[in-house]
């Protein structure tokens, strides 16, 4: 399975990268999920709400339609631990806005531009992610 996983991962990664490239070269925008969404939430991005809204509509509807057509019974396999879900959601929301970016903004758009901020952010969220899995999965066993 792992042999197939990396091929799917790479193919999906290429699609993510082409989407980011189009959004930059056509719309002149950075394709950062937390920034596009966060700007609507805290009103800082209301000046171009239609562009943000259209991006988010595509982000919901296209994978939704694909999943419906090709992956019946697909699951995110999310934990059943509600406290963990709420805590993680809050951490991801606050953290990505404090850092001004997430996996797409810092990881994909930042690193590809050799941005020091993007590289430092990516090192820290990957490290914290790894430690979090060790702590909550292996040591505490809550997920």
């Amino acid at each position: 399975m792992i042999e197939q996983d990396w091929i799917w991962g790479f193919a999906g990664g290429l699609m993510i990268g082409v989407a980011a490239a189009l959004f930059l070269l056509v719309n002149g925008r950075i394709m950062g999920a937390s920034g596009i969404l966060g700007g609507l939430v805290d009103r800082s991005g209301w000046g171009n709400w239609a562009e943000r809204g259209a991006f988010l509509a595509g982000l919901v509807l296209v994978p939704g339609a694909l999943a419906l057509a090709f992956w019946p019974g697909i699951s995110t396999n999310i934990t059943g631990n509600w406290a963990a879900i709420v805590a993680a959601g809050l951490l991801v929301g606050i953290g990505t806005r404090l850092a001004n970016g997430c996996t797409s903004g810092h990881g994909v758009c930042g690193i590809s531009r050799l941005s020091l901020r993007g590289m430092v952010a990516t090192v820290f969220y990957l490290l914290a992610g790894g430690i979090s899995v060790v702590l909550f999965k292996h040591l505490l066993g809550v997920i």
């Binding site: 419906l68 992956w71 995110t76 999310i78 929301g93 901020r117 914290a128 999965k137």
Partner: protein, 144 residues
């Protein structure tokens, strides 16, 4: 209208890529982050695959005056590493590892993610709403 159309297309392709890569499967993502356990290096292929076309796009952008639909290319931010970049990234990574969803996949999987996905997204939006206040407090602490 054209801007919104291309934004919809970019968002859709992004979402399709997230689905196909496995980024919306929290079990896989947690396995990819599990560097101290039974690590699966697929995440490196996802990130690497995404960075390649985007690196080409940045090179093209440097040679062009404007994006195809007008306006300006985003300016490169000051290479300053403030405390919020580090604190924010650590908090984000902790949450990502805990449940296995980052912002893009959390939105992309909302139609099939069930109640857990909806609660995660709502908590994430609440966190984004609270972030400016948290930032002010951290900055005040840092200045003191």
């Amino acid at each position: 209208m054209t801007r919104a159309l291309f934004a919809f297309f970019a968002g859709g392709l992004f979402g399709a890529g997230l689905l196909i890569s496995g980024m919306t499967d929290t079990n896989k993502v947690q396995g990819w982050l599990d560097v101290f356990g039974d690590w699966d290096p697929t995440l490196a292929f996802v990130l690497g695959g995404a960075i390649l076309p985007m690196a080409v796009a940045w090179i093209i952008a440097e040679r062009r005056a404007r994006p195809a639909l007008g306006g300006d290319f985003p300016a490169k931010p000051e290479p300053r590493l403030g405390h919020n970049l580090v604190i924010g990234s650590v908090l984000f990574g902790a949450g990502w590892g805990l449940v296995g969803l980052c912002p893009g996949p959390a939105v992309a999987s909302i139609t099939w993610g069930g109640l857990g996905g909806i609660v995660f997204l709502l908590a994430m939006l609440a966190g984004m709403l609270a972030a400016p206040g948290v930032r002010t407090r951290i900055d005040r602490l840092a200045a003191a």
